[in-house]
């Protein structure tokens, strides 16, 4: 399916309507649906959440655009609701967390491979190994606190082994900042990749910040506090790769294009026909938003959106197991650290990050405690026969 970004009208805003019943449909089956259906749901929730946040901030800084921002934002708020409510109530918060980390691993790995800019591909690989370790820690939590197997959620697509140790991921804020792409020379896919991953990480941070205090177990409370802090670092990292010199409307245009692209990726890969129909519907909604913003871009900036956007969409994100790529990256880059915006060997990590880490870990490390001696096996730790 080739979509001409600027020539496709999509669904006009006035036809983007919802009812409460429409918003709250039957959720997916935790047991029977493919794990990648859940991955897409979580990702698209994050994409819509960030789009909403961006538009609220724009509205606070630009009076003239408030009306169109409010109209598009309302539609996107309801899109997010319908998507997020597809997660069924039998997912425990830790099981949903496993789903969030599967998104972070599989989508970041796919994007790292499709990113044409070598430095930015390195940024994605760097973050990937950290989220990969979070999966291991949360899987240990799920097993050791709830007595459940993370692979019931992962469906064997994603490994549960240590990555770059979470306890070593804590860095000084300056060492989380990266060089940004150049808005004039970067490929459109580079800009959309950045928005996709930043949005995913931002919702993960927010999710952990919301559910962390709902746990009664002290280790769970500490672990969510610790990993939420890394997700905050990741939002800092991925937010900083975006060119700060883009105008507000240029950014808005890119957000809408990125949403079109992400829904397109979902449509191309979805295996559940009922969910695929939702992706198709929202792809058309986003094309409608893009048309509106293209008009605003022309009117207010007197520029052609074709300066920013590609004629057709890039190849879709590969929603499939990235096991081999992750293992290869793990082997080659586990010891990478940062010094300012540079990636360096752990021996050359900045002093300020080492000091920062020493402080936050000085009263113990929840990520080390929960996973001490943890070895995932089917069924899992207590299932000793099957491991033999």
């Amino acid at each position: 399916m080739a979509i001409k970004l600027l020539d496709t009208q999509g669904t006009p805003l006035e036809n983007q309507k919802f009812t409460w019943k429409d918003l709250v449909q039957e959720p997916i089956s935790k047991l029977d649906d493919d794990a990648f259906t859940r991955v897409r749901i979580i990702l698209m929730n994050g994409i819509e959440q960030q789009s909403n946040r961006f538009k609220h901030l724009c509205s606070q800084m630009n009076g003239e655009l408030r009306k169109p921002l409010a109209v598009v934002r309302r539609s996107e708020h309801h899109q997010q609701t319908m998507i997020n409510w597809l997660l069924s109530g039998d997912h425990s918060p830790i099981e949903t967390t496993i789903g969030y980390e599967q998104v972070a691993i599989e989508v970041t790995a796919a994007i790292a491979q499709q990113e044409p800019d070598d430095y930015l591909a390195q940024v994605y690989r760097f973050g990937l190994l950290e989220d990969f370790d979070h999966m291991y820690r949360y899987a240990a939590l799920l097993d050791r606190v709830e007595g459940k197997d993370a692979n019931n959620i992962l469906q064997s697509y994603t490994d549960v082994v240590p990555g770059r140790p979470t306890a070593e991921e804590h860095r000084h804020p300056h060492d989380d900042l990266r060089e940004h792409y150049d808005r004039k020379t970067a490929a459109p896919i580079t800009k959309m990749n950045a928005l996709t991953i930043m949005s995913g990480e931002y919702q993960t941070r927010d999710y952990y910040m919301n559910i962390g205090p709902t746990f009664s177990d002290p280790i769970a409370r500490q672990l969510y506090a610790e990993i939420a802090s890394i997700e905050e670092q990741h939002v800092t990292q991925y937010g900083s790769i975006i060119d700060p010199d883009e105008t507000m409307l240029e950014k808005w245009l890119l957000y809408e294009a990125s949403e079109v692209y992400n829904y397109y990726c979902c449509v191309e890969s979805e295996t559940n026909p009922r969910i695929k129909a939702i992706w198709e519907r929202f792809l058309d909604y986003e094309l409608g938003h893009l048309q509106l913003v293209s008009g605003l871009f022309k009117k207010h900036e007197r520029r052609d959106p074709a300066e920013i956007l590609p004629e057709t969409l890039p190849a879709p994100i590969a929603f499939e197991s990235q096991r081999e790529f992750v293992k290869k990256t793990l082997k080659a880059e586990i010891d990478l650290r940062t010094s300012g915006t540079h990636f360096v060997d752990k021996a050359k990590e900045s002093n300020q990050s080492q000091e920062y880490r020493k402080q936050v870990n000085s009263e113990g490390s929840p990520s080390e405690a929960i996973a001490e001696g943890y070895h995932w096996r089917p069924g899992t730790e207590l299932n000793t026969d099957r491991a033999a």
Partner: protein
């Protein structure tokens, strides 16, 4: 059809033999040697030692009525123990009414398609009795000067314990037998808790209250028997 059926469940390792083999082999290669977490236990113990309770029992300004007039025997006991437990039972019965109301709506919708329909009259009767028990507890709390609108610590904790059961019963996707299993847990706990409450009243010499509670317990015993029978029947009828 929501009773047990064969289908495309993807959660086990047998669904993806190739991926599962890789996953197991990667875990073998890249995980540390298996061991218990000593650090986890130490961290939990630190928190347990430092923790305060979930909250306090709202004691009445002055004890009155039955508790005051029960004489010396009450004076030798801690009335907050009783008030805590009365508050717990009251909250439990009130939630129980809501859960039965929800389940009755589900049965009204699904009974027609079920191999083993649940008698609606029986459910409504239990629901009504739970509501009566709530009233009995309210009156007893008021009679001793305790505030029946306050949430006591054990009421709070019992609500947390029941939150999973509530999720099961109110999920439109769950079957009648899945809900009945949740109700069996609820009723077994309820029965044992009324027994405890009666022992507590007897210990404190609150004879009148104990008598009223014994009538409630007799009804709770029938709830256990009926729910257990419906549950067994609903599962066996699927075989």
């Amino acid at each position: 059809m929501r009773e047990a059926k064969m289908g495309a469940n993807r959660t086990g390792i047998d669904v993806s033999p190739v991926y599962s083999k890789q996953m197991i082999s990667d875990a073998e290669e890249l995980s540390p040697p298996p061991s218990e977490s000593v650090m986890m236990a130490a961290m939990e113990q630190q928190y347990i030692e430092a923790a305060h309770g979930v909250g306090s029992v709202p004691l009445p300004g002055t004890l009155k009525g039955v508790l005051k007039t029960a004489g010396k025997k009450v004076g030798g006991h801690n009335p907050e123990v009783l008030i805590n437990k009365l508050g717990e039972r009251l909250a439990y019965e009130r939630s129980g009414v809501r859960l039965y109301q929800s389940f009755i709506r589900k049965c009204e919708t699904l009974n027609g398609a079920s191999q083993s329909p649940i008698p609606l009259d029986g459910l409504r009767e239990i629901c009504m009795e739970e509501a009566e028990h709530f009233q009995v507890l309210k009156e007893c709390m008021e009679s001793i000067g305790a505030d029946p609108t306050a949430q006591t610590p054990d009421a709070d904790v019992s609500g947390v314990a029941g939150s999973g059961l509530m999720k099961v019963i109110t999920d439109p996707r769950t079957s009648l037998s899945q809900c009945l299993e949740a109700f069996l847990t609820i009723e077994l706990t309820d029965q044992a808790s009324w027994e405890l409450l009666i022992s507590l009243c007897d210990e404190m010499g609150l004879d009148e209250i104990s008598e009223r509670f014994q009538a409630c317990l007799a009804q709770e015993e029938t709830h256990v028997e009926r729910v257990k029978a419906w549950y067994q029947e609903s599962v066996i009828s699927q075989v």
